[in-house]
Amino acid sequence: MNVTTIEVIVSVLVLFGVILALISAFGLVRLPDVYTRSHAATKSATLGVLVTLTGAFMFFGLEEGFFSIRLVLGIVFVFLTAPVAGHLVCRAAYRSGVPLDKRTVQDDLEPILGTQEERQAENKERHRRPHS
């Protein structure tokens, strides 16, 4: 494989990853509530990191001839953990009664976990007596 071809592939991958991270940052600023923001932060930032790491892996593997098992582990690790982190943040937000955006049309969890005011009151109660 020609060296310039490798360089082109690696730079396209890294650039794509950086653009995805930038889009994710725009989503964090522009989106209305915590759930849509978490949607932007989790998916596109994860893919951005994965693509950038793949670019770095291809650079070290093809250009320098060094197979970095740490980068492979990093890719697998970020791919496994970032969505779970987003899931946990969203769940904690919903359970402590963070309001949904005003334009929300349907909330299927509300009949199970209680309305937003009930969840907020329960959260406040939980913080008042932390040793229960």
Binding site: R70, L73, V76, F77, L80, T81, V84, H87, L88, R95, L113, E122, H131
Partner: protein, 140 residues
């Protein structure tokens, strides 16, 4: 409200093995690459803390029955013994040596006595970190 931690617990079961193997890699890489006993011990401790976060303290304490206060003492003892061992063999305190040994499967490997000292560092760091975190988390 009933808690449902299936996702966190399932991912923790997979991820803790990745973290522990990375900790072992860092520990053995420390002689020639970035890594070593301290960072290996901290990464091991972070894997254990992740287990304590995803499951409860009682489950993990039953599964991994280690007294972390004792682990600090064992680690300090291991490091001290490797340091005093050089006096016993007639060299200055904390002298270290290495030798190249041929193994059947791996080929020639450099074996250094400083790895034993670093093993003591790992045990001390894991014990100290988990003693701090577990005693903070106790509800007394």
């Amino acid at each position: 409200m009933k808690a449902n931690d299936v996702i966190l617990q399932t991912v923790t079961k997979v991820v803790s093995f990745i973290i522990l193997s990375f900790a072992a890699y860092l520990f053995f890489a420390g002689h020639h690459d970035p890594g070593g006993g301290f960072i290996g011990g901290l990464v091991t401790a972070s894997a254990l803390v992740l287990l304590f976060l995803a499951f409860d303290i009682r489950t993990i304490s039953n599964g991994i029955p280690i007294n972390y206060r004792l682990l600090v003492g064992i680690g300090l003892a291991v490091s001290t013994v490797t340091a005093v061992g050089s006096i016993v063999l007639g060299f200055p305190f904390l002298s270290h040596t290495f030798e190249y040994v041929d193994f059947p499967l791996f080929g020639e490997i450099e074996l250094a006595t400083s790895v034993l000292f670093e093993l003591g560092v790992v045990l001390t760091v894991v014990g100290g970190t988990l003693t701090i975190i577990l005693s903070i988390s106790e509800d007394v």
